[in-house]
Subunit: 328 residues, 2 copies
């Protein structure tokens, strides 16, 4: 299995990418990692005794703040686009990037291309839950608006991912809505509800934002706009509460003692809420495995993204989605 | 000033409504409260020495789970609809209800009617913020979907409310979005952004869900669907963290000691997050003052809703909105 890694993507590139690649290459000897990026920067970081890592040199790269479509169209030799091309021409089985999210989605769409029948690829990160099992939420970021048909396709792809990759027998698919009753919601959620009922998936109906942390479903279907609001609202609230606790817990000696007692469980909860710990987000619907790891990933998170890609290749994720979409 | 109260609305009706009315009537002798509802139930609760409370008897009422439009159309003598009629025919200057939210909005629309020029009334509760000043968010619940023009009108009405009722000189109006940059968002937020820039309000641009608790604006503009997801996500996250803390803080003696130390600040924060403490939500855009108090209101919350209605009458809220919409 050959995995192309955009070595130049992310806040701590290329260091954490190279380190993460080395951790992965040592653990999984059945993979070969192709580090796409600037050889001059990568080589000094790389332990050359590891035989299953190669470098594919390029000195072009897409920056974090570049306009995605323009960047992908113009920078044809950027590390991200080259990794995408390898997936397209089958010289790699998967690609990973921690770089510009919009550019990665454009690379997926324009360089790798869609699975026939898929109207819109969807980015599917894992939302945090109290039991650490997480909820696969899609779409979160690839497209702000979604039609009924897009939401239906998200539901199918998310369900396949959870059963194929996470081994769930019958993943519960929920539609993010303002109430659990069937008639609730916006025009689009009302229209899509009966369509979801017709699918060969375990559609459990509408689910509410307030119960996401309690894992009210395994796959959460929403458009990119609403999904983003949900995730950021959860993040913001948790961060605010932790800030308050931090201030309160350092006010005087007694409170510092209380803080020491509580620290382990608060840290555990904080980690729970940090969705970067749940691994990378697959870009579902593109004709190849494409994993977005978080921009602030450390070496371990990069390694986990490689593991996720390896898993998706082994379980034939793309073939599974393609065959479901070709049935129709 | 005459304020009609739907005495039968809310989870603890009519008790808390009557108690709240008595508290308000004692404090503000310039108002007269008309309790609309079942005399047999109201009378035993009422201290008849309070001269500025009257009862308007009816034995019909709208239940919490009734279909709003049907209920309002059929139950023409329900306590809620009668209170709305009093506002319509000017026998009351304002109405208050803690009952069925959808039915109250229907009463606003069909019984009281819209201010000329207003396309859609909006329900505007206050979102919690760390500094307790709150953010007036609209629309939250009256309409799931909103057009560009609706969002523009929400911005204008919210801005007038904050300056008239809360005395803010130049309330900051923000558009709920997935990023702060101008080009971000869904088709509708991108289209409405330049329209908001043209208004005679202090439009500060896009604001993000994660910063709401830090009061990133004074008026938050969003459609009812997204606003509901935002509010519930914040609520759910806070409740989950408090549940975890509760478990962690009762595990053993040492932790119970820590809990005792932290209790006051945790309680204060919990109260901060409880949006019912921020008072009732005005239904803006209807041709009369109409306040929705929370279904779980206690007597004090009911009293505060009366105060809010009194304030809106005194500050001529409806006239201010009407004159702004008639300028156009």
């Amino acid at each position: 299995m050959r995995i192309a890694m955009d070595a130049m993507g992310g806040d701590h590139a290329p260091e954490v990418n190279v380190k993460g690649a080395m951790l992965a290459a040592k653990d999984w000897t059945d993979i070969e990692i192709i580090l796409v990026g600037d050889e001059k920067q990568i080589k000094p970081l790389l332990d050359e005794s590891i035989s299953n890592i190669k470098i594919h040199h390029t000195d072009e790269m897409i920056l974090a703040d570049e306009e995605p479509v323009k960047a992908v169209r113009r920078k044809k030799n950027s590390s991200m686009v080259l990794a995408g091309k390898m997936v397209k021409d089958k010289s790699a089985d998967a690609m990973i990037s921690a770089g510009n999210t919009g550019a990665l989605m454009t690379t997926g769409l324009l360089v790798i291309g869609r699975i026939p029948g898929v109207e819109r690829p969807a980015l599917a990160p894992t939302m945090p839950t109290m039991d650490n099992a997480g909820i696969l939420a899609l779409d979160l970021g690839a497209n702000m608006d979604a039609s009924e048909e897009h939401l239906v396709q998200y539901a199918v792809m998310g369900s396949i991912y959870r059963s194929k990759i996470h081994g769930m027998e019958s993943p519960r698919v929920g539609l993010l809505n303002v109430g659990t009753e069937a008639g609730k919601g916006s025009e689009i959620t009302k229209a899509v509800y009966p369509m979801l009922e017709q699918l060969p998936i375990n559609f459990i109906g509408n689910v509410e934002a307030r119960d996401v942390l309690n894992r009210n479903c395994d796959v959460l279907v929403c458009d990119g706009f609403v999904g983003n609001i949900l995730l950021k609202a959860m993040e913001g609230t948790a961060n605010n509460i932790f800030s308050v606790l931090k201030v309160e817990l350092t006010k005087n000696f007694l409170r510092k003692a209380a803080a020491a007692i509580l620290k382990p469980s608060l840290s555990a909860f904080k980690k729970k809420m940090d969705y970067t710990t749940y691994g990378g987000a697959p870009l579902l619907g593109v004709n190849g495995v494409c994993i977005k790891s978080h921009g602030s990933s450390d070496a371990n998170a990069v390694k986990n993204a490689v593991g996720q890609a390896r898993n998706a290749i082994q379980k034939e994720l793309v073939t599974s989605i393609a065959s479901e979409f070709n049935k129709k």
